[in-house]
């Protein structure tokens, strides 16, 4: 079902620029059960952007050129994480934005939604431990180019919290190969020194994948929560780079 929309065949970014009204407006989608939407909006505002909540039933993104699909438990994650949100009307607008080259950031549940709609490859399985895991992890930046990753440095190690029960990324062998060869892995779980090792993998994700980016670089999904690390009192600001990049392209 989702094959037809996989990819995002790279439309000109200019159409996005044309649509936006000058302000750095970032849409934050609110699904029933989203619970990191406020955090995402606060992070956007902190980075100098205007955060625009967009209800899941909306057919458009209020003219925003960038969107965050926030974390949470859309529809309770009662079927599969992100599965039901993938069918919300707003996701049609998100797909359009992807094709037009707008910036899309899926965090945690938002990442799961991006997989469910096929904007990013693979699927999420329950964590290897079968338990919800909330802890700080390190992720290594594998790509530092494109719309969303450009404020990061390749090989840089970020300290961010994870909080999920289904973050065990999986893809069939051929898909994994393609993802790897195309440089689709944006982040991998790693040790404090930046080594990608099995012990550093909190949930069993294939190839320690913590985040993926599409070929065009405008659709990014990750399990850790950058919006929870954007102020000194959060215990770090390692999430700021991503949020800033998003605000700048909005």
């Amino acid at each position: 079902m989702t094959a037809s929309v996989r990819g995002g065949e790279g439309g000109p970014a200019s159409s996005v620029a044309a649509r936006r009204g000058g302000g750095r407006r970032v849409a934050v989608v609110v699904f029933p059960g989203s619970n990191c939407d406020r955090d995402a909006m606060a992070a956007v505002r902190g980075a100098g952007g205007e955060a625009v909540p967009v209800w899941h039933q909306s057919e458009d993104l209020a003219g925003c050129g960038a969107v965050i699909l926030p974390g949470g438990f859309s529809y309770g994650d009662y079927l599969r994480a992100g599965a039901m949100a993938a069918h919300s009307p707003v996701m049609r607008a998100v797909r359009r934005l992807a094709v037009e080259g707008g910036a899309i950031l899926g965090i945690c549940n938002g990442f799961q939604v991006l997989l469910e709609v096929g904007l990013l490859p693979g699927a999420m399985l329950p964590n290897r431990s079968l338990r919800f895991i909330c802890r700080e992890v390190r992720i290594r930046v594998e790509r530092a180019d494109g719309l969303l990753l450009r404020h990061l440095a390749q090989g840089q190690v970020l300290r961010l919290p994870i909080a999920h029960k289904e973050g065990n990324w999986y893809a069939p062998g051929d898909v994994l190969e393609r993802v790897e060869s195309e440089g689709g892995v944006a982040f991998r779980y790693c040790s404090p020194a930046g080594e990608v090792r099995p012990e550093a993998n909190p949930n069993g994700a294939l190839a320690n994948v913590a985040g993926l980016v599409n070929r065009e670089g405008n659709v990014l999904g990750l399990m850790p929560h950058p919006e929870r690390r954007v102020a000194g009192l959060h215990g770090g600001v390692d999430g700021l780079g991503l949020i800033r990049a998003l605000v700048e392209v909005a």
């Binding site: 029933p32 059960g33 606060a42 974390g71 309770g76 338990r131 919800f132 215990g235």
Partner: protein, 729 residues
């Protein structure tokens, strides 16, 4: 005639847990014989859980007033002012029995209930905590219970998106047959946006919101089913299942309704469901309600008024709305995908009357049920003083081995395996979470910090309920100080055995006395709470566990409190060098002795020391840990969690056991960067402050007069602390 409106008898009343005297009282109050549904309603509202009939008399001794108190006990949750127009709304509640029957759903619905108690007052929940008591891990079903409870708490809170940031857990054989699950929630609101559970304004509409009603947790129903049998199909009640997704929608919907000024009053349907919400809302407003029970949305077929009134289906609210605002209110509900259904209206007469299928189902006056519920002065005997004991001669032991033993016990180890299953940072406002002495969470969009901690040493309360309860308050004050917070209010959950046992009643009375006295001493008002009685199996009561949930304030958070050593810190102990060994973890877990006197709280000393620590932490000058469970040795071990060890030298005159493992009293371990040592010394002027050494390297070394008492590597400590609950991983 159908069963639900057939006249009741004394026998039926007794099956519902009412006494013959209570039955007489009902007959007098009504001047007629109630029907079955009415007896069910009386039994529910006069139950221990709803009426506090055994404890009420004693609860009156709690100090409940203070300059910050906006709402004391009696509402769905207590409210204290935090300044700047903000208030904290909080409460703690038990879900012990349901969790023992079905741990996952029992714990989950416990969390759901306490969240509703808070958001029903117009507050957005910003954190959850929980206090857990399990039996020995080897006891039947115990691992299953631990696993289920932790998953239940996690799955529910995580899904709703309220961070679970603290709590406590203990294991003792006294809980083998009766575990404790106490959940606490703290919310915040603007003071002018507070809502109350009042059904005022005759003519206003009564609206049912949320999940449909099923035969969930209808208490009296199993016993009463015999009565139902005249043709009607009696069905067994079912276990309540939590639906955190609906709860999340309900929360957002209610907050939007309240923010938009669309409600007159609102209350969740908690224990005793529609019964308690209807009668309590009417009682608070001095009005009455008229309900059409046929309109209650149902999930199961053939539900009777009896069942509709007593169902404890979760995620349901009762609201009162002005008629002119009703369409707008219902539109908000619809937008959140929730069914809002008008089921009645407010009436002037102080009674609740309900029709069902066009017939009168019941008509009961509000006052006798709520305000005039029975209050008992149950017989009690003062707890016997803990027998004097001669402590063993404690010198020259292998103290390192003792520390290792302590750290590897489930009671003492790191509870990481529990709290890693909780989302601690959703909300992006958690400054201090599990693993620190207290939690500290910012009010969204501000730098105002709200701190919270739960505390109770069940063992100490078993030995000396009065002092044990007082110490729980003191411990909470110390824990708050360690994150820089001053106490502003307290909620409690009093978990005891049967009040019909004079000894248990004596424990309850003593614990309330101790807690009340300590609250006065620390100027902390009690604004909400919960009593859970009959916690026993085969006549064996649990250890008395009066859990304290204390909320603190940091007016402006500038620094995240730290709880670990940093390289080259100077390490001090503030307060007496030696603690007391009575009721200590050392005696319990190393010497296998559950004995000893529990000391009185040193009110003045605690207040002064807490004030000093609080100020230093606020300024970001020290890392602080109070010396409670396991004393100095364990606190120092915990402070190595950041990877840095310490070399500490105890003064020659210190008794080894009491300095290393003594507990109680205003004692803190402080780590301060050398640059701030002078400030620390000045701040502690007039208090006992002893420099013990420095934080350095990767070992924890504690010496006295050149002799090494403890020598452990930091990594070994970390590994040991994972042992106790490691099986959960």
């Amino acid at each position: 005639m159908t069963a639900w409106d057939s006249p009741a008898t004394l026998a039926i009343a007794r099956e519902h847990g009412l006494t013959p005297a209570e039955w007489e009282r009902i007959l007098t109050a009504l001047g007629r014989v109630p029907n079955l549904t009415e007896v069910g309603i009386f039994a529910a509202l006069w139950s221990e859980h709803c009426s506090y009939k055994s404890s009420k008399l004693h609860l009156r001794r709690f100090p409940t007033r203070g300059p910050r108190v906006v709402q004391g006990p009696g509402e769905n949750a207590g409210i204290v002012s935090l300044g700047d127009g903000w208030v904290a709304v909080f409460k703690m509640e038990s879900h012990n029995h349901p969790s023992f029957i079905e741990p996952y759903q029992g714990a989950a619905t416990g969390v759901g209930g306490i969240l509703r108690d808070v958001f029903t007052m117009g507050a957005r929940p910003i954190m959850s905590l929980n206090s857990l008591r399990f039996g020995e891990l080897e006891a039947p079903r115990m691992r299953h219970l631990v696993d289920g409870v932790v998953r239940g708490i996690g799955d529910y809170g995580n899904c709703v998106g309220v961070p679970t940031v603290g709590g406590e857990v203990d294991f003792h054989r006294a809980f083998n047959g009766n575990i404790l699950v106490n959940a606490m929630c703290v919310g915040v609101a603007r003071e002018e946006k507070i809502f109350y559970g009042r059904a005022s304004g005759p003519g206003n509409r009564v609206v049912y919101l949320g999940s449909k009603t099923g035969r969930d947790g209808i208490h009296g129903a199993t016993m009463a089913s015999d009565v139902f049998d005249e043709g009607a199909t009696a069905r067994r009640p079912t276990v309540q299942v939590g639906d955190p997704f609906t709860e999340k929608l309900l929360m957002e919907c209610c907050l939007e309704l309240m923010d938009g000024g669309l409600l007159v009053g609102i209350q969740d349907m908690g224990a005793a469901g529609l019964t308690s919400s209807a009668f309590e809302m009417a009682a608070r407003a001095g009005c009455g309600l008229e309900l059409d029970l046929s309109r209650v949305p149902v999930r199961a077929e053939g539900m009777t008024p009896y069942e509709l009134m007593l169902s404890e289906s979760q995620e349901r609210m009762l609201m009162v709305v002005e008629p002119r605002l009703l369409p707008r209110a219902l539109a908000v509900c619809a937008r959140w995908g929730l069914d809002g259904v008008e089921i009645g209206r407010v009436i002037r007469e102080p009674e609740v009357r309900a029709t069902f299928a066009g017939r009168l189902a019941f008509c009961l006056p509000v006052k006798p049920l709520v305000d005039e519920a029975p209050v008992y002065d149950r017989a009690w005997v003062p707890p016997a003083p803990a027998p004097p004991v001669t402590l063993p001669h404690l010198i020259g032991r292998d103290w390192s081995a003792d520390l290792r033993r302590l750290l590897s016990r489930p009671q003492m180890g790191c509870s990481r395996f529990i709290w890693e299953q909780y989302d601690q940072s959703v909300g992006a406002a958690t400054v201090a979470g599990p693993g620190e002495d207290a939690a500290l969470v910012l009010i969204p969009g501000t730098r105002i910090g709200v701190a919270a901690t739960t505390d109770c040493n069940s063992l100490a309360c078993g030995l000396d309920p009065r002092r044990g309860a007082a110490q729980a308050v003191a411990e909470a004050v110390r824990n708050l100080a360690c994150v820089g917070a001053e106490p502003v209010g307290l909620t409690d959950c009093l978990n005891f055995g049967s009040p019909e046992n004079p000894e248990v009643m004596g424990q309850l009375v003593a614990a309330i006395d101790g807690m009340a006295a300590a609250c006065r001493a620390f100027d902390v008002p009690v604004v909400s709470g919960n009593v859970s009685l009959y916690n026993e199996t085969s006549g064996q009561a649990i250890l008395p566990t009066p859990t304290v949930g204390m909320v603190g304030l940091v007016p402006e958070v500038r620094h995240a409190p730290r709880a670990c050593f940093a390289e080259s810190d100077a390490v001090y102990i503030l307060g007496p060098l030696e603690g007391e060994l009575g009721a200590s973890r050392f005696l319990q877990l190393v010497m296998d002795m559950q004995v000893g006197p529990v000391p009185d709280v040193d009110d003045a000393g605690e207040r002064t020391a807490a004030g000093v620590v609080r100020d230093l932490v606020r300024l970001g000058l020290v890392a602080a840990r109070d010396l409670s469970d396991g004393g100095l040795a364990v606190a120092a071990a915990e402070m190595t969690a950041g990877g840095v060890g310490a070399v500490l030298e105890l003064p020659a005159e210190a008794s080894e056991a009491r300095a290393l493992f003594g507990e109680w009293g205003p004692r803190y371990l402080l780590a301060v960067s050398p640059a701030w040592e002078d400030s620390l010394v000045r701040a502690a002027d007039g208090l006992v402050l002893t420099r013990l050494g420095i934080a350095v390297g990767e070992r924890l070394l504690i010496r006295r007069s050149g002799e090494t008492l403890i020598d452990e590597s930091v990594s070994e400590i970390a590994a040991l602390r994972e042992v106790g609950l490691g099986w959960l991983a």
